[in-house]
């Protein structure tokens, strides 16, 4: 059954709501961009408009994926992972001895993992990369004969695989969660995914907004001076509120459970952002600018998602388990 079923009122409500919000935000953004005399920081307005454009693209791509079906969405997620891993390894210094290992990581392990996700083999994909991926990377780098900083190098590749491929794939895996009862069906799975993306993006924005308005104490000033405790708490609370209000969109959740999920998603997203900031700090912003100029986006956009997706996935399973029990 491939025809998109838009007869579901909750899906329609969610989509309409988001589109309305985006349209209003775009109108405001354009207005602010044309009237620079409003006393607002033009750089902030520009980044707001850039972010909005990113969301429009995201929505369009999601709509296309929804139209094409579950497998297409998994493939799309795989491509995003692939691109993110590219950026990650590009930023990370590797040695020539890592070359063959990296080749297989890109062209065998990443696709194979997503194939397992596409075939809904949770039993396999949950261990494939953490177990066999690790063993392979260690052994292949050792076999290449270069022992210099061995653990450091293998850990880098491993971290890249975990964050960019393994973690992100849980977002795609949400589409295979079997939501029982009348709330189930393909629409429900897509709504679940959409709910997660919405929460992650919202949490990002709230973090930014709260940090800007009330931010005083950075969590780790050396890593990121703009991510503050106030931003974290503010974003976690606001995201929990939004999730509670939108609980009807996420099938297996009760309102309080949705709020909890929102809270956790915001905290995890924050952790993801901090992690990527730490990596970028270590490498120096300069490298990032020269090598990934133009399309610096992907890893920056999905860092929060990478950390939030697995937790949200397991929360969903947990909530459903409770419901069944």
């Amino acid at each position: 059954m491939n025809a998109p079923a838009l007869n579901d009122t909750r899906t329609v409500a969610l989509i309409t709501g988001v589109l309305l919000l985006l349209t209003v935000a775009t109108a405001v953004g354009q207005f602010l961009a044309r009237h620079p005399d409003r006393g607002l920081d033009p750089a902030a307005v520009r980044s707001f408009n850039l972010r909005l454009r990113g969301w429009w693209i995201m929505c369009t791509v999601l709509a296309a994926a929804f139209w094409l079906g579950t497998t297409a969405t998994v493939v799309l997620c795989g491509l995003v992972s692939f691109w993110a891993l590219r950026e990650f390894i590009t930023l990370t210094p590797t040695r020539k001895g890592d070359h063959r290992a990296l080749f297989w990581v890109f062209f065998l392990f990443t696709p194979l993992h997503y194939i397992l996700v596409a075939y809904d083999r949770y039993d396999l994909f949950s261990v494939f990369l953490p177990l066999y991926g690790t063993l392979f990377v260690l052994a292949r780098v050792a076999l290449a004969g270069d022992y210099k900083r061995f653990l450091e190098r293998t850990a880098k590749i491993q971290a890249g695989l975990m964050v960019c491929v393994y973690c992100l794939s849980f977002a795609a895996a949400l589409l295979h969660v079997r939501i029982g009862g009348e709330a189930g069906g393909r629409d429900a799975n897509f709504r679940l995914l959409f709910f997660l993306i919405l929460l992650v993006q919202f949490a990002d924005c709230m973090q930014y907004a709260w940090s800007r308005m009330a931010g005083r104490r950075p969590v780790a000033a050396e890593v990121s001076s703009t991510r503050t405790w106030e931003g974290l708490i503010g974003s976690a609370t606001s995201t929990a509120l939004l999730a509670a209000v939108l609980w009807w969109a996420a099938p297996p959740f009760e309102p309080w459970q949705a709020a909890l999920a929102g809270f956790v998603v915001a905290v995890m997203g924050f952790a993801g952002g901090m992690t990527m900031s730490a990596i970028k700090r270590d490498r120096g912003v300069k490298d990032y600018g020269t090598l990934v100029v133009g399309h610096s986006g992907v890893l920056d956009r999905i860092d929060s998602m990478c950390f939030a997706a697995p937790v949200f996935y397991h929360l969903t399973l947990l909530v459903m388990g409770q419901g069944a029990g």
């Binding site: 390894i89 070359h99 890109f106 020269t290």
Partner: protein, 228 residues
């Protein structure tokens, strides 16, 4: 696309590069486009023109050499109209071995093959290049001579200087290729699809009375300056 009257009709001696590309078939052209697209996709290359613009005037693009993909990537980074006029200079001992390499070099990329092992005064590579490009074509050269192993840039060989001296009207455009040595390092044949960056710099010329060593150092610095 190509001018009907090739400006050079002099016969080349046996063992020199293949004649001009007027006879390139549509298949070869399509192969070139396909390979260029593939190289761009695999290398995730972003192209920057720094204080410089693509132009169909006669130019010599000189770049650091780190990978087999270098020439292909520079070639693919140029706009179609410029690409048609630009010929990579490559080592004959490597590119004329085997059918596929020879076909790629001669038919697809219209490369100018230089015999590194047998350089004679009567048949110097620079004279050959000047003769081959006539008054319309541009060249892609790698003045280091061979790919560096470490990724560090080596000293420039003097060919670029003599080229500039004999044809002072040609624009010399420095090109810096970043990260490609990690995508396809020397001695590897399978690429790892990381992201790379190609930067074209502002054209330069040989100054009046500039010494060979000074010019070569200046040219090398011009390439290195694009790293930032």
């Amino acid at each position: 696309m190509l001018s009907p009257a090739e400006p050079f009709s002099r016969r080349q001696g046996p063992g020199t590069a293949a004649p001009g590309p007027s006879g390139r078939t549509a298949f070869c052209r399509a192969s070139g486009l396909g390979l260029a697209a593939l190289a761009r996709l695999l290398s995730g290359a972003s192209v920057r023109w720094i204080a410089s613009q693509p132009d169909t005037c006669q130019r010599v693009y000189f770049a650091n050499h780190t990978s087999h993909l270098d020439a292909l990537l520079i070639w693919s980074a140029l706009p179609q109209s410029v690409r048609e006029l630009t010929r990579p200079v490559a080592a004959k001992d490597y590119w004329s071995r085997g059918f596929v390499r020879r076909w790629l070099a001669e038919e697809v990329f219209d490369a100018l093959l230089i015999d590194r092992t047998d350089i004679k005064v009567s048949q110097s590579p620079v004279d050959l290049m000047i003769r081959e490009i006539g008054t319309t074509k541009s060249l892609i050269v790698f003045p280091e001579g061979s790919r560096s192993v470490s990724g560090e840039m080596g000293e420039f060989k003097s060919g670029l200087y003599y080229l500039a001296k004999k044809r002072p009207d040609i624009e010399l455009v420095p090109v810096h290729i970043d990260n490609l040595n990690r995508i396809l390092p020397r001695g590897e044949f399978l690429p790892v699809p990381l992201l790379s960056c190609i930067s074209f710099g502002p054209p330069m010329w040989l100054e009046q009375g500039e010494a060979k060593a000074d010019f070569l150092v200046r040219a090398r610095r011009a390439v290195l300056a694009l790293k930032e």
